[in-house]
């Protein structure tokens, strides 16, 4: 028996269908602006940047996820020493969310420099992880750094700007622009909280006197 929809439910479904059609049309004729990242003279603009790497799993069976867990556990020492040596990472963690393996991190500097540091220090750990990922980058990653950086950029979740109006500087168009971006990007970062904004990992270590 088909459950009867409330009038609110009917309205919501009607809106969703309408918006689905409208977004296809708007995306064709007025696609969303691509974000433009410009170098900034302000030090804190290059600190505590976020990376949300969303990697589709090749196979999600529990046995394969068990193998992933085993491989990451065996790589713990490699990852810890490697990230310590990089020195610019505040936090990094691996998650399995649904059909994806995610690496979420907060780092200082810019993305390509961060990835190159990664390749140099924990490239082997990434090799162990990549065999679980669908459509991985060319391997070994240490021999294909540019391709790996491009692959990471393509799998990094879209980051909405902290100021909504940075997405598009016109109030009347802001919602449409946001919906178009959400349509193009299944994975998005909606916002970030920073407990101590504007400080690098090095400054935190120095102020806590924990050495490096």
């Amino acid at each position: 028996m088909v459950p009867k929809l409330s009038s609110k439910g009917t309205r919501e479904i009607t809106d969703e269908v309408l918006v689905w059609f409208l977004l296809r049309i708007w995306d064709r004729f007025q696609p969303p602006r691509a974000p433009s990242w410009t170098a900034s003279p302000a030090p804190s603009d290059n600190l505590q940047r976020t990376m949300n790497l969303i990697m589709p799993l090749r196979r999600r069976h529990v046995l394969r996820r068990g193998e992933l867990l085993r491989d990451l556990s065996e790589a713990t020492d490699m990852l810890t020493v490697g990230l310590n040596n990089v020195g610019t990472v505040h936090f990094a963690r691996f998650l399995v969310v649904g059909r994806h393996l995610c690496m979420i991190s907060v780092y200082d500097g810019e993305l390509s420099g961060y990835i190159r540091d990664f390749i140099g220090t924990i490239g082997q750990a990434f090799e162990m992880v990549m065999k679980h990922v669908k459509d991985p980058p060319p391997r070994p990653v240490s021999e294909h750094p540019d391709e790996f950086i491009a692959w990471v950029a393509a799998h990094d979740a879209f980051q909405f700007p902290d100021e909504r109006t940075d997405l598009y500087p016109e109030l009347g168009r802001l919602r449409r622009e946001a919906l178009l971006v959400l349509r193009r990007n299944p994975h998005v970062q909606l916002g970030v909280y920073r407990c101590y904004p504007g400080y690098s990992a090095a400054q935190v270590r120095e102020s806590l006197e924990i050495g490096w």
């Binding site: 804190s44 902290d162 500087p169």
Partner: protein, 361 residues
């Protein structure tokens, strides 16, 4: 700015609010006063050499919370902007030994030191609102904004085609649009610098209390520190009770705060966001990136609530102590000096003699 220009600006603001009552502030006209003390911490003393913070473990503070419009209604209807004007007094308040009818007639509202509120030498008036930034940078643009925000003489009927056109354009519907909003949105299309402030205004919800909002002083203040040198910061008051909203459509925030204040002390933390290279310190309409360093400067405790509306209190952002000032290129900050002073003079004339500019405007 001349007195006449200030008068023009005040009249322009009043025209935006058709229910404005002469004798009240042209904006932030509905308010309630709270008194308490601010305790600066070591971070504040390192950040600024202002004697106000350096020389006192605690500073007496008078705060006036207010609505963000010029409609001095008895209840605060609908979600909108709120204001928080705080005076850090340059000298402590002396409690009087007894309270008498004579003192009350002399204007001593709660038995302490009449005239103390009017001592402005060395005090610091920090005027803040729930908007993170202001609408515009320039005075000329602000006049255009006021003209755009004036409600039409007759309420315009929304054309029948506007709603389906907005849906086709995927524009967000607004349930509580006010007269004048159409003009403001059209203004924002030509002045994108107004978008951050307007996005915050249009997204405002009904607060649970004056005590559960954060308040931003949009201008950048230059703080000189004892070691020489200076930094530019923007201040924000953050409620210790947290930012909270209510689904109630209209609420008497004055009564709510007075009642809340009788039950418990109300606390705010004063934070300063520090500017970095490339941040515009003269444009109150431009947000600074959220990744800027934030410092906690101290704790405000409010525990004196009488329900007084504070209409006779004369805040002025130009009341700045030694060691704190604002860049000369911040045009609107320096315009506010004359505007606030003129408005205060008109209000006083209205209160004392029932005449003055309000009766002519």
């Amino acid at each position: 700015m001349t007195e006449e220009s200030a008068a023009d600006l005040i009249r322009g603001i009043c025209r935006v609010f058709p229910h404005h009552r002469p004798g009240t502030r042209p904006i932030h006209s509905y308010g309630v006063v709270a008194r308490g003390r601010f305790q600066p911490n070591e971070v504040a003393r390192r950040l600024t050499a202002a004697p106000l913070f350096m020389n006192h473990p605690e500073v007496d503070v008078t705060v006036r919370f207010s609505n963000g419009t010029g409609n001095a209604g008895s209840s605060h209807a609908g979600p909108s902007v709120q204001g928080m004007a705080a005076r850090f007094h340059s000298r402590p308040r002396r409690p009087m030994p007894e309270r008498s009818d004579a003192r009350r007639r002399a204007g001593d509202r709660d038995g302490r030191d009449p005239g103390w509120d009017d001592v402005t030498d060395g005090c610091f008036d920090l005027v803040a609102t729930t908007l993170p930034v202001f609408y515009v940078r320039r005075l000329a643009t602000f006049r255009d904004f006021l003209a755009a925000a004036e409600p039409p003489d007759r309420p315009l009927r929304r054309p029948w085609w506007r709603t389906p056109l907005d849906r086709m354009n995927l524009r967000a519907p607004r349930e509580d649009a006010h007269p004048g909003d159409e003009g403001v949105v059209a203004f924002a299309a030509k002045h994108p610098e107004a978008c951050p402030a307007l996005a915050a205004q249009f997204g405002a919800k009904m607060p649970e209390s004056f005590a559960t909002r954060s308040y931003h002083a949009a201008h950048a203040f230059r703080l000189a520190h004892a070691a020489g040198g200076h930094r530019h910061v923007r201040f924000v008051w953050e409620p210790v009770a947290g930012v909270r909203f209510t689904s109630t459509k209209a609420i008497d925030l004055r009564a709510e705060l007075t009642e809340r204040g009788r039950r418990e002390d109300i606390h705010f933390v004063l934070r300063a966001t520090v500017a970095e290279q490339g941040d515009d310190i003269a444009d109150p309409a431009r947000p600074w990136p959220k990744g800027r360093r934030r410092l906690v400067l101290g704790l405000l405790t409010l525990n004196g609530f009488t329900g007084d509306d504070g209409e006779d209190l004369e805040f002025n952002p130009h009341h700045l102590p030694n060691g704190i000032d604002v860049d000369q290129r911040d045009e609107l900050f320096h315009v506010r000096n004359q505007v606030y002073a003129t408005s205060a003079r008109w209000r006083k004339a209205q209160r004392t003699s029932g005449g003055g500019e309000w009766s002519r405007s």
